[in-house]
């Protein structure tokens, strides 16, 4: 790499300092504080390339749920040349390893299952879980458009959903599980549709920086084509002109240990993550360097259902989460329950971290057969993350639990299941739950992993990115996990898919509607 080439390093270190006028301002900006920074117009200090190598109407960064939804809507909204840039060698980012639960309120499947629900109730749940830090207009946009977004994936993309699932923190079952229990059902069908309608997909192409004109309008990008993750010097520098707009849908930063530690110093490299390796924050920071405002960056979600006995997301969440409200969760040190099983992700992850040792989720044959998909059970058992026992005594002994205390605790839990009311911890107990009595019994250890970054770029209801001058950064839209404010302190399970599809579609439509700058 030549020294004088514009690179990400020169951007983040030298130019960024120039733009923001000093390290204190950088620290404040990166740490999410609102400082009086120059307006985006002042931030535009780089000379634009004399010649653009490639020109598009709309450039989308990232090929997950949000990015592909944006690309499809931009193309259908009249943008002629639409390109999706993906830095990784495979498409789909976290979306393709996602568990495939799509939160939507008031749907046909809910009616068929006798679940009464409404966007109002979903919004209420989102705000309560989010500790009311959610930007209400954004949360409302997701809640009120969730049903239509789900139906769009069914009728327009051909996605199929098989089962209604529950996630902790929701009042009712509203997670529509894809037919293959994976987000790939949606993201692969988005990809097929995008290609079918003529969206260009460019793999191994990484954003280096946003380029803006004198007015602060985003006019294009500097990228590295032929990028080989994670080598920042790989690939060839190319300048891409974005005539109408850029949609940033690059995902969260759960795997960015340096960035996540800036915002939450507890999240060192000792904590694993459920994310794909490319879930890093450089694109988000590149937007900040162009005057985009960030929000709530220190609300980083830990998954309470991951196992220390397997890598990444693994099988255990697909075992644990369907079992809450059917089985019990105990602290193996005491043999006792310690927290409401159907609590939200933050409550549960914090409770487990507070124990200082992995917790146990337990289900009997009835609950496991009814709730856990066979492939997850099989996979988890083969890896050794899920274990099977003939008796509760065996189970207690295997985890060094005091047998008497544990079996007494199970009996107590069973009495709550029978009367559908948990006197101790107020766990929700589902109508079809039965006492934990049917052998064999299954158990898995639980230890949190970094799962989702709630914070990110500030957007408005039109998915426009907001600048530090409280005005939209012209020509820049964002959707999905790279944005902040939708979920506040806690993202409820299954709401990510709704968030990504709803705001991805909005961003794409609005981007196509932008007036071309040249």
């Amino acid at each position: 790499m030549k020294k004088d080439e514009p690179t990400e390093k020169t951007l983040t270190r030298r130019n960024f300092l120039k733009i923001t006028g000093g390290s204190a301002a950088v620290a404040a900006a990166v740490a999410g504080g609102v400082t009086l920074l120059p307006s985006p117009a002042d931030a535009a200090c780089d000379a634009l390339p004399k010649k653009w190598d490639e020109t598009y109407d709309v450039i989308v960064i990232g090929s997950g749920f949000a990015g592909l939804a944006a690309a499809i809507e931009a193309k259908n909204g009249g943008a002629k040349d639409v390109v999706v840039l993906e830095k990784m060698p495979v498409h789909g980012g976290n979306s393709i390893i996602n568990g495939g639960d799509f939160c939507a309120a008031g749907t046909k499947m809910q009616k068929e299952n006798g679940v009464e629900d409404s966007p109002e109730l979903l919004l209420k749940d989102m705000l309560r879980a989010g500790a009311y830090l959610n930007h209400p207009d954004l949360a409302k946009t997701v809640a009120y458009n969730s049903k239509e977004a789900l139906e769009w994936t069914e009728s327009y993309l051909g996605c199929k959903y098989a089962k209604l699932n529950f996630h902790g923190g929701h009042s009712v079952k509203r997670a529509h599980g894809t037919i293959n229990q994976s987000g790939s059902e949606v993201v692969n069908k988005e990809m097929a549709k995008a290609k079918e309608i003529g969206v260009k997909i460019m793999m191994r192409t990484k954003l280096v920086k946003f380029l803006s004109n004198k007015e602060g309008r985003i006019v294009g990008l500097e990228v590295r084509k032929g990028y080989k993750f994670p080598d920042d010097n790989s690939g060839k520098i190319v300048f891409m002109k974005a005539k109408r707009a850029v949609v940033l849908s690059s995902g969260g930063f759960s795997y960015d240990v340096a960035l996540r530690q800036i915002h939450d110093p507890r999240l060192t490299d000792k904590l694993g993550s459920t994310n794909h390796l490319g879930a890093t924050g450089e694109a988000l920071l590149a937007a900040c360097a162009r005057g985009a405002m960030d929000v709530q960056m220190d609300w980083i979600q830990l998954g309470p259902w991951t196992s220390p006995d397997e890598k990444g997301f693994g099988y255990t969440p697909l075992f644990c989460e369907p079992l809450v409200g059917y089985g019990l969760m105990v602290n193996p040190k005491t043999g006792k329950r310690f927290f409401k099983e159907t609590g939200n992700r933050k409550e549960r992850a914090d409770a487990i971290l507070l124990l200082g040792n992995p917790a146990l989720i337990i289900g009997d044959s009835y609950a496991v057969k009814k709730q856990v998909v066979p492939h997850a059970l099989k996979g988890g058992m083969e890896i050794g993350a899920i274990k099977k026992f003939d008796t509760l005594n065996d189970l207690a002994k295997a985890y060094d639990m005091p047998v008497d205390v544990f079996t007494t605790q199970v009996t107590r839990w069973n009495s709550f299941v029978e009367k559908r009311k948990d006197d101790d911890l107020d766990c929700m107990i589902f109508k079809d739950a039965k006492p934990t009595v049917e052998a064999p019994f299954y158990a898995a250890r639980l230890w949190p992993k970094v799962h989702h970054t709630m914070g990110g770029l500030v957007i408005n209801q039109d998915a426009q990115v907001m600048g530090f001058d409280f005005k939209p950064v012209k020509g820049l839209y964002a959707a999905g996990e790279v944005t902040g404010g939708v979920h506040g302190a806690v993202r409820l399970g299954s709401v990510a898919m709704a968030d990504c599809i709803v705001f991805g579609r909005i961003a794409g439509k609005k981007a196509a509607g932008e007036k071309a700058w040249g």
């Binding site: 495979v90 390893i97 293959n180 790939s184 692969n188 032929g226 890598k311 990444g312 890896i383």
Partner: protein, 177 residues
């Protein structure tokens, strides 16, 4: 400042050692000679044509100059002296008379390939997945994420050591040729 000079010394020695390790490692293992399209006509068994003045094979190894992949297999098979993971896959190709040009075309600047080139000779990935359906702990050629369409090159590298792409997130102990 004694401490400082000590620290400097440590850094210098450390860097030299590091460099040495890197150099040795690259000599011994996968770092191949500079690839040149002009070597396209070379026979796969003719090690020294590319690895100039370097002994690549064990002392008593038979002369491979005239050998092709079939000949290698006379001694190296699945159960005995398996070559799986021992040679960059490009060598298998060369030994089977598939030279640079056959994949990259006639060019001075060969570019990275997509899996279309692989499939053109090796056949459909659906058939491949069918063939490996009983591999434990799971079929490596299909997944809930990418179906059968994960790019071959992500695991089966031609000019570097192959890797198990699934192992980023999964505990699948595949032996990747």
């Amino acid at each position: 400042m004694k401490n400082q000079s000590h620290a400097k010394m440590i850094i210098v020695v450390g860097s030299l050692l590091g460099l040495l390790v890197v150099v040795l490692f690259s000599q011994l293992l996968w770092a191949a000679p500079k690839l040149e399209m002009s070597k396209s006509g070379v026979k796969g068994g003719d090690c020294s044509a590319c690895h100039v003045q370097k002994k690549m094979l064990p002392e008593k190894h038979a002369d491979t100059k005239a050998m092709n992949w079939e000949a290698c297999k006379a001694c190296h098979n699945k159960d005995n002296l398996s070559l799986t993971g021992k040679l960059p896959n490009s060598h298998h190709h060369m030994l089977a008379d598939v030279n640079c040009v056959k994949c990259h075309g006639k060019t001075k600047k060969p570019e990275a390939l997509t899996m279309e080139q692989c499939v053109a000779c090796h056949g459909s990935t659906t058939k491949l997945a069918e063939k490996t359906k009983d591999v434990k702990p799971t079929n490596p050629h299909t997944s809930p994420h990418y179906g059968t369409e994960l790019d071959c090159n992500l695991c089966h590298k031609q000019h570097a050591k192959s890797e198990n792409y699934c192992a980023q997130c999964h505990k699948f102990d595949f032996k990747v040729p």
